[in-house]
Amino acid sequence: MVRAPETRPRSPGQVPEWESLRELASQIKEHTLARLDSYLLEFERKAQENGIQVHWAADAAGHNRIVLDILQKHGFRKMVKSKSMLTEECHLNPFLEKNGIEVVDTDLGERIVQLRKEPPSHIVLPAIHLKRQEVGDTFHEHLGTEAGASDPQYLTEAARQHLREKFIGADLAMTGVNFAVAETGGFVVCTNEGNADMGAHLAGVHIACMGFEKIIPKTEHLGVFLRLLARSATGQPVTTYSSHFQKPRPGQEMHVIIVDNGRSAQLARPGFRHSLKCIRCGACINTCPVYRRSGGHSYHNAVSGPIGIILAPNLDMKKNADLPFASTLCGSCTHVCPVKIDIHDQIWRWRQVVTEAGMPGFSKMERQDFANRVIEPGNVSRCGKTSRFMLHFAPFLLKNRLNPWFKNRELPAAAGKF
């Protein structure tokens, strides 16, 4: 079971105007969607006036190409990257590595999964699926820590020393963008580790990439979003660092890449365009009962959980046709979303779209047949008796490597009665 923080219950108590903030955030984002082009142009103009180079990438390949071109122009080989789900979405790392670039993910959780050659399982807590012993094993293999060590302080210190070397030796630093402000051409990057800052303030070139929906109209709107973001993500009042970037330091190059990669297609869908309000906080992921049981990797998408379900089919409907069905439609996601996305309604709507498109591939007759078998009382009773019996007397029959559910998960204990 994945233990991500249940963040919603605490926030309204600590911030009395929580519901007002959610409403404001939702309004600001909805207003912005209707005027995206003009806000993006305003942002570009202001950013350029401040000496930032602005690029536009229609898709993942375009984004990756821009990054590589900048690296190659300078003859750079080593870069550091702070957390950016967009770069995951674009599969940037494998592309750069194929082209001889060393990319080090500097968020501690991301570095752990990078060393393990796994994708992140949560947009805010990438290594939440791991136990500390597993982290210890990974660090022993790659960082030379003691075998069997699992003390978080010891392991974190080892990672810190390792990453410090990487920051100091990097030619180029890449960051994501939490919020881009049209009014000023500036942008904000929030981290708990200061890894975005260590990278950007040491390297001679800083690239910040953003999905175009990250734009907000004014600086004062940050006062709404920054009060919502961290509380929704982890329950903490604010991230340790909220860094406001305006212009490159003297002698430095600063670039912003504005990325589409399917977002404009989502913008066209009236029933789904509000998914673009997302600020990537992870509150929906934290609260989802299905996510808790199945974990982030089962969504086979860079962004997992409820928000992943409503974004992914737009990117590749065939591959992601199963996702809208990975939900109980309990609606908890909608209730915790700081920007009031109607997530579970969109999940339900995707089911209609996906089914009408003839996916996920079962005919109506096949589905009816399956449903009949599943609810037939005799079948239910027989399955129940058999699994409880096996769990109790021959657990090895279920708890083995041939059972895909058992990989990285534990099975429940059998109930007392058979």
Binding site: V15, E17, S20, L24, Q27, I28, E30, H31, L33, A34, R35, L36, D37, L40, L41, W56, A57, A58, G62, Q153, T156, E157, R160, I168, G194, D197, M198, A200, H201, L202, F212, P217, E220, H221, G223, V224, R227, Q236, P237, V238, T240, Y241, S242, R249, I258, D260, S264, A265, L267, A268, P270, R273
Partner: protein, 151 residues
């Protein structure tokens, strides 16, 4: 058509037609009571150390006591900087303590606002240092707030 034109064109075609007004007023009532105390409580709860003092002279003493053993310390208080002529931010890698002056603190979340000028123009300074001490004025009395890096 290049990517920029293509993207802007698609966005113009696909964006929702109805207009939602921007909220006019974004302001809430302020927290009542002892803000400095609220600030200190939140900061302590997330792992920072706070020392309050009424007398500015005590601060020098407190710094000596807590950090006197550190070799490479820089202070940017009162417009003085022991850091001049640093062309390359990598030169700051050996700093063990940085003492900076914050513009203001936020009671709701224990945050402190620092500008580039407060860092002496060295953006990497508060991040690359091992220990960070920040001065915050609490109206008429000095409040010395300190964040300790995770070790």
């Amino acid at each position: 058509m290049n990517s920029r034109e293509k993207m802007l064109d698609t966005i113009r075609r696909n964006k929702p037609s109805g207009a939602v007004a921007l909220p006019e007023k974004i302001a809430f009532g302020y927290l009542d009571g002892d803000l400095a105390r609220a600030f200190s409580e939140v900061l302590r709860s997330i792992g920072g150390e706070v020392i309050g003092t009424e007398n500015p002279a005590d601060i020098e003493l407190a710094l000596q006591k807590r950090f006197g053993h550190l070799k490479n310390a820089v202070s940017l208080l009162n417009g003085h900087s022991s850091l001049k002529n640093i062309a390359d931010p990598h030169e700051l890698a050996g700093i063990e303590l940085a003492v900076l002056q914050g513009r203001f603190g936020v009671a709701e979340n224990g945050a402190v606002w620092l500008t580039e000028a407060d860092m002496g123009g060295h953006r990497v300074l508060p991040f690359i240092t091992q220990h960070l001490a920040i001065f915050l004025k609490k109206r008429t009395s000095w409040q010395y707030a300190r964040g300790i890096r995770a070790h």
